[in-house]
Each structure stands twice: as C-alpha cells, then as structure tokens.
Symmetry: C2
Subunit: 515 residues, 2 copies
C-alpha cells in the first residue's frame, strides 16, 4: 500500500512545470478508509434523544456561548439574528439546528494521492493518528519532548500502516521549533513524507491561513476551492467559550471551503457538569454553534461534528480516559449525530496510563470500540495516544495500528452467504475430527481471519525461548523496522520548491517566538 | 461486602445441630449480580438469524451428534424419538428446539449466604472467575503449576472482590492433589472460603455426583432438590461429540435439578469450520442437544446455554482470543439465545498473551465488552484468564476484577433524569469557569463515576516518584493486600464436620491416581 503510485497529470503554475494529483470528488477510485457493514449501537431511546436536544436548546437559549476576542464572529451572529450582548451570544430554540442543515452528510477529504483520498460520513470510517501531545516516548529513550524529527517519524509510520487512512495533524508538538513557525514544518512534513489527507494548524487564524495556503500550492487553487484538501481541529474552551484564536481559525477553514473539525473539551466534573447527561448536552451546544458558524461563513462547506467527553478523577482532579461513563457518552453522541446526519468525530484510542501496560490498552480498546459502535466517522487519536494526550508513544502507535486492522475485519460483520456455513465440510470432517486440512478450510483460510503482526499466540515455551518479549517490546522492534523500510512517496519537485519558498518567506517575515 | 453476614436458621440433620442458609427462590433479598439497564447489540438481522437456525437444523438432521460411551444417553434419545444409529444421533427439524421450551428463562443460583445468591437470565449479569488452567502465575514466582493453596487464594480473591458474584469452578487445577480426588478439595474450598454460588466437578459422572452430594450437605437435601445450589461446566468434544464422561456428568446435574452449563469448544479452523457462520451453526447444534438432553432427564431443570467460539492462528495452529471474528460470533450467539429466551454463558476476559501486557487487556476487554453487549448472563472467565486458558494470573485477576467494577457502571446506562442535566450548574458556573466546586458537583460527585483502585491517572512526575509501577506491579501489591485482609465467612461447624467426613470417606475409598 505504501508503494501505491499517484495518478498525476501535468499542469502549469506560476511559470513552473508542476505535477499535481488528479482528483475528482465523484471518483470511484477512492479506496482509503473502511466501510461499515454492521449496525451502530443505540444506548438510549428516541424519546431520550429528544430530551437531550431540548436541554441543549435550553443551554443555547438561556446560558449562551461566549465568543471572546472575535468581533467578526459576533457580527456574523448579529446578522444571523442571534441575541448578542457583549461577547455572549444566545440562540432561539431551533435556530442553530436549522443552520446545520447545509452541512454535507458525506464528502471527500482528498490526499495528494487520489487512491488515498477518504470519504467522511455515512458508512465510512477513517482512522487518524493521535494529536497534540508535547511529549513522545519509546522504550529506548523514554519520555521526552517531541521534535520535528519525531513528527516526521510519526508521519512515516502512519503512511506505512495499511490500517491508518489519514496523516493526522499535530502528531506530536515539535517543541524544538519556534511556536510561531512550527506549523509550517508540520504541514510540510505531512505533504512531503505522506500522500494521505492531513490537518493544518489552528492555533491562530494566521497559522490556519498559512496551512490553507500551502494546501492550495499542493492541490492547485481552483481544486482547493472546490474540494476539501485540508482540515483543522478546532478545540473549544469548554465550558461554552470560543476564544478568538479558535473561532478565527474556524472561520478561515470555512471561508476556504475546508473542513473544521469542531470539538468541545468536556471533562465531566471540571469543564462540564459532573453528571453525564449534562456534559453531553453542553458538548452538543458547543459543537453545534461552532459548526453553525462555519455554515454561516460558507453554507455547504464541509464540517465534522466533534465530541470529546470524559470524566475527571475527582480525588486527583486529573482526567481519566476509556471510562464507563465516557464510553456511554460516545454512544449517545453517535445517536444524536445520526439524527443530524452529519459526519462525526467521536472517541478514539484514549488512555490515562503513563506507560504501554495492561491499563493502556484496557482503556484504549474500550474507547476505540465505542468509536466504532457509536458510528464515529473520523476517528482521531486512533493510534499512539498515551497519558491523557500528553505523550505519543511509538510502541503504542504500532500496537494500536495493528488492532485497527482487526477492527477493519470487525466492521465487515458476519457473512451469512451459503458457502460460509460449510455444509460440505461437516459431511467431509464428521464428528470428532478436525477441520485443518478439509477442502473448505483450504479454500477459505487465506481471508478467514485478521492476521496480526504483533499479537502473539505462540506456546509459552517458545515465547520464553524467543526472549519473553511483551507486546511493547515487540512493537519497539516493529516501528524501527517500519522506519527502515519506509519509502517516501514522490513529491513533484516543482510543487516541493514552491512549498519550500512559501515556508522560507513566511519564516523570514516573523521573529522566532518560543511560548 | 465481604463482611455481609449470612441470614441463617437452625435445622437438624443427621443428629447434629446445624445452621444452614435460609434461602428462598422468590426472595427479594437477592443482591448479588448486576442488572442490565442498557440494550444489547444486534449485529445481524432477524432474517439472518432464521438462516442460522435453519443451517443448525441441517447439521442436526444430516450430520448429527455422537454420544460416545454413554448408553444411557443413547437410550434417552431413542425414547425421545431421535434417529439413533450406533453412537450417532440425528434429529428431525425442530425437535431439539421444542425440547428447549422447558428451560427456565431465569432462575436463582444460590450461595450459602442468601445475600450473595445470584439470578441467572433475562436482565441479570453474573461475573465468574476464569476456569480450568493448569498453571498459575504472579510477578514474584512466575508461571508454575497450580496447587490447592493457589486454588484457595483465588477463591479468597473472588470472595473479596465487590465486582465478582460467583466463586467459579476450577479456578486453577490443583495439580498437587490426586486427579481422582482433587474435586473434593476444590468443592470444599468454595464452600469453606467463600459463601457465594460455585461450580462442581464434571470430569467424570462420579465426581459430579460427589460434588452434588456435598452441595446437599451444605444446603440440605430438600432445599437442594428444589433449588439450584451447584452447577457444572459441561465441555463438549467439538466437533459434534459428547464423550461419556461429559454427558454422564451433564445427566447427573440435571437429575439432581442442578445446572449444567453446556459449552461447545469451537475453534474456527480446527474444531469447527474456518468460516464464522458455520462455526456458529455448529456450536448452536452442539449446545442445543446438550441442553435438550438435560431437559429430557428432568424437564424444567435449570440450564445455561453456553458458547465458546474463537479462531485459530492458522500459521501456528494455536487458538487466538479476543479477535474480531470471535467478538462478532458472540453478538450473533447472543441474539439466538434471546430468541430461545434462555440464560446464556458467552465470551469472557480472554487473551492469548503470555504475560500481563498491553496485548492481554486489548484482547480481554474486547471479549468482555462483547459479553456485556451480546447479552451474556453468566460471564465465566471474567477475571484472571491468561495464555489461552493455560494460566490463571493473580495480577490479571485483580486488574480484570477492577474493570468489572467499571462494567457495573456501564450497564446502568446514562440517566436522563432532570437533575442529571445540571441546569442550575450552568447558570451558576457560566462560560469559561469550572464545575469543581459548584453545588451540583458537590451534590453528585460521590456517585458520579466508577472509582478504580488500580487504574492510574496521576501526573507522570508523581508516577515516576512512586516507582514507575505499571498496572501489573500495582496489581501485585493489591492481591497480596486482599489476601492479607481476607476474612473467612463463618461456616457452621456441624456442616463443616459433615463435609470433612464425606471427603475423608470418599478419599479413603479410592487409591490416588495422577493422570
């Protein structure tokens, strides 16, 4: 899969000969991602969903949302008929919901390699690496601040995994680069070391604009205006606040017809109420308003409805992940997103654990499975997440990615085609014998089960002889091998040059800042 | 919970003053187990289920089931109108299904402490320790053969966990005891060190009868004849064979109005076809026939419908657990059991991993969650399972048990009561502030979230200062503390003496055998 070659055409741009991905929104060649063939899981009744929507409306109407330091957003809301007093915006019942009607229920998120473009929404599932950690860790060097080298490594690992469909965004913070310039290096790393879709910067409106500008260089201005070629993860300041940096970035993506992934940050008991129903209603109010703002800026532009609801350990005050309560919340949010018929980002491979131990995967499998069954489409944090988002682990990245392969199998469900019942095999094998060598087994074994490259079923004695390596130690060998085997997907030299020039120019226009 | 005192009455038996548990099948005092308040997950359509039942009927009619070395069973089938040729028994379409109609859809499985009796079936869930491993392991001594001391320790740990409802059966093989006598020590350990329901021996019909005899001593003959006071895990020799030891034990439990848990052993690709649909149909055929035999022996006696379907690693020939395919199979089997309206044992905390690492809980959470969502009632192997059932791990036992606590919370679903929406809190806190100290948090925090005793959310620096212990190392401290804190539930001295006399007599009647 890593060797898939781009389907390219020659076009001219700024006086250079350039080769650009031939991409077509309706192309049947789109192959990345996986299509769900199993039902979602509904945890509450339709009646329950109506109560939740009512309570969400109450929050929007009675409490409202602050837009802090973004006069443009406040003006947009005024024009739209919302009740704006100072920075507080309140909304009539049903107003926000009516604005969500123009959100496309499915759209293509393009990669520069059209074979790795993905579709968002409906029955499509896209797995995306973890996002935003300042630290990285591996078994050799332990936990340390992330660097641009780590960032590039992680982009390469995602590119090399057959089970990850998207290059992600801030796969780790490259803390060795200036705060105000590192977005340029991150976006370039996604473009240069991968050919999958990717996310741009959101930390200020200017950095979002830089990211979008680079996407235009990569995909061509016209194509980029008509198609989704970049997305940005817009984090709210929960409870009920959009700061200007985030709403400014959100507007930048929407103006350019690009995709804001709008995500509340509801820690039940801290940034949201300690009861899950209230936390869900708050998160919904928050995301609905952000997505609606994008639709006011450019109706019909793509958007992803995000959710991030978890609990806090009330004794320690720290967030806890993969918990029973957060999993239940994901199921509810999935149901609401289906009522709105919008693409959903919800849940992921979360854990609070400080190392790659039995806690880490207990929590991350619990929340990853919830992502699948709740009907999430854009599964961010699907690989590598550690320590409540503070760390990206190389080992956990490849363990999670391997498990995503199993989930590819799981979402295909159980085939009940006649030959799957193996009637002939029962007659051939009969009571008391085994099916190892029977015709039906020989005809089907190759595609029967997902074959993990990391999960061990070997006899204990053999496992001991081979060094008693636990899965983290095996994963350590695996990611090194993957980096060694990595082959960079060719980037057109003309485009590359243009990107580098843009980056150099932008860097030269600003002094470095480090906080 | 471990300190719960038994509600006892004085009765006389064999000339001694005895105190026996006051148990009443309709008692509202039953408190053990947890009641599901969330829906199950349906992975295939009703139409799909009909196809599966049809294919199951085909296997029963065309291939049939062998009863090997059990003339009594063959005679029962002849009398019932089945097609018996030699040891092969074939069944007309619908015959077996009609025999399942007398299985109680819910019944009480009694503990000697009535407060720890459990209900099986419908919305009730009972968590039971892992079963049958010849090895045990802990971080101090590593992997080694199990002993009666280990067995007793594991009974004590289950008794001490607030999240385990049943003492289990062969929690490990006490390999230091003679093969033909260890069942007496095992059953006694459950009776002596715990007061919860437990399982007896199944390895021969005689050992089943001994186990039932001991249960009669504990509960009184009349009570034991009228109520479920012991159960036996009847493993088939898949594909499609009951050997005489197992069908003889099955009959012994049913004759005594006790509960056989009838379980196929379908390793898709080895003891069953390599395609999941066929493996499911086979397992259904197998379990249906066993449960039906029990109903012929004593109509209306309790039974549990069992399932055990997993895949084999086709390269290695070894079973693999917690896989995508086995999880999907559990969902299907759950749906079928609901159609039959019978209590179900399905899935559990399975893993192939050789140690308590990130693989082990990835797999066991995957399969435990499937047990919950597929609607399993009797969740055997809920704690401690390691290495494809070869090992019981002390550390994994307490990690799993802790996670069972989270599942207790999860199955309660999301409350949508008005106060759960925290309307007042939003008004009090407002945008941008936190909910830590608000009235609503103070009123609700105590019961808001499941509080794990093992899963860590602490800051990395603090975790490092405290020794960088992973969850297995923390679990190692935990189980030792639990054993230290363990307090034996009082067993009536008269009953105890009678049990000991029975055991001594039975042991004296047989020379030791060691294989």
């Amino acid at each position: 899969m890593a060797q898939a070659t781009a389907n390219v055409e020659t076009v001219s741009g700024r006086g250079r000969i350039r080769r650009r991905a031939k991409v077509d929104a309706s192309s049947p060649a789109i192959i990345a991602g996986v299509k769900r063939e199993i039902p979602t899981y509904d945890i509450v009744s339709e009646e329950g969903l109506e109560i939740i929507e009512e309570k969400t409306d109450e929050i929007l109407q009675e409490v409202g949302i602050d837009f802090r330091g973004d006069d443009v957003a406040l003006e947009i809301w005024k024009q739209a008929g919302a009740d704006v007093r100072g920075e507080r915006v309140r909304f009539d019942k049903g107003h926000i919901r009516s604005l969500l009607k123009t959100v496309p229920n499915s759209f293509v998120m393009h990669g520069r390699n059209p074979e790795r473009s993905t579709r968002l929404g409906r029955e499509h599932i896209v797995f995306v690496p973890a996002y935003g950690s300042p630290f990285v860790s591996d078994l050799d060097q332990g936990r340390r601040y992330g660097t641009i080298k780590d960032f590039e490594n992680l982009v390469k690992l995602a590119y090399s995994s057959p089970w990850i469909h998207h290059s992600g965004g801030t796969v780790c913070e490259p803390v060795d680069q200036p705060v105000n310039k590192r977005h340029l290096d991150m976006v370039y790393a996604h473009m240069n070391y991968s050919d999958m879709p990717f996310m741009g910067s959101v930390t200020t409106r200017d950095r979002a604009l830089d990211s979008i500008e680079m996407a235009k260089i990569l995909f061509g201005e016209k194509f980029a205006d008509e198609n989704c070629v970049i997305s940005g993860n817009i984090n709210m300041n929960s409870p009920l606040v959009y700061d200007g940096a985030m709403s400014g970035a959100l507007r930048a993506y929407a103006e350019a017809n690009q995709c804001p992934v709008v995500v509340p940050f509801v820690l039940s008991g801290a940034t949201g109420p300690v009861t899950i129903a209230g936390a869900i209603a708050q998160g919904l109010a928050e995301v609905m308003v952000g997505v609606a703002l994008g639709q006011l800026v450019r109706p019909g532009s793509p958007a992803i409805f995000g959710n991030f609801t978890t609990t806090v350990n009330l004794k320690a005050g720290s967030p806890s992940f993969g918990t029973a309560e957060s999993v239940a919340a994901s199921y509810v949010v999935g149901q609401i997103a289906r009522r709105f018929d919008v693409p959903l980002r919800c849940s992921g491979g979360f854990t609070s654990s400080q190392c790659v131990d039995a806690q880490s995967t207990n929590e991350s499998v619990n929340s990853l499975n919830a992502a699948i069954l709740c009907g999430s489409h854009f599964i961010l944090h699907a690989a590598g997440w550690m320590e409540s988002a503070l760390t990206m682990s190389y080992e956990k990245f490849v363990i999670d990615a391997d498990y995503l392969g199993a989930l590819h199998k799981f979402v295909k469900g159980v085939s009940l085609d006649d030959d799957q019942f193996a009637s002939g095999a029962f007659a051939e094998v009969g009571p008391g014998n085994h099916f190892f060598g029977c015709d039906h087994t020989l005809a089907n074994y190759e595609h029967a089960f997902y074959e993990s490259e990391l999960f061990s079923t070997m006899p204990f004695e053999q496992w001991e002889e081979e060094g008693s390596l636990d899965i983290a130690q095996r994963a350590n060998l695996k990611w090194k091998q993957m980096l060694e085997d990595y082959q960079k997907p060719e980037l057109d030299p003309g485009v590359d040059e243009e990107l580098r020039e843009f980056i150099q120019r932008r860097k030269s226009e600003m002094p470095d800042t480090w906080h």
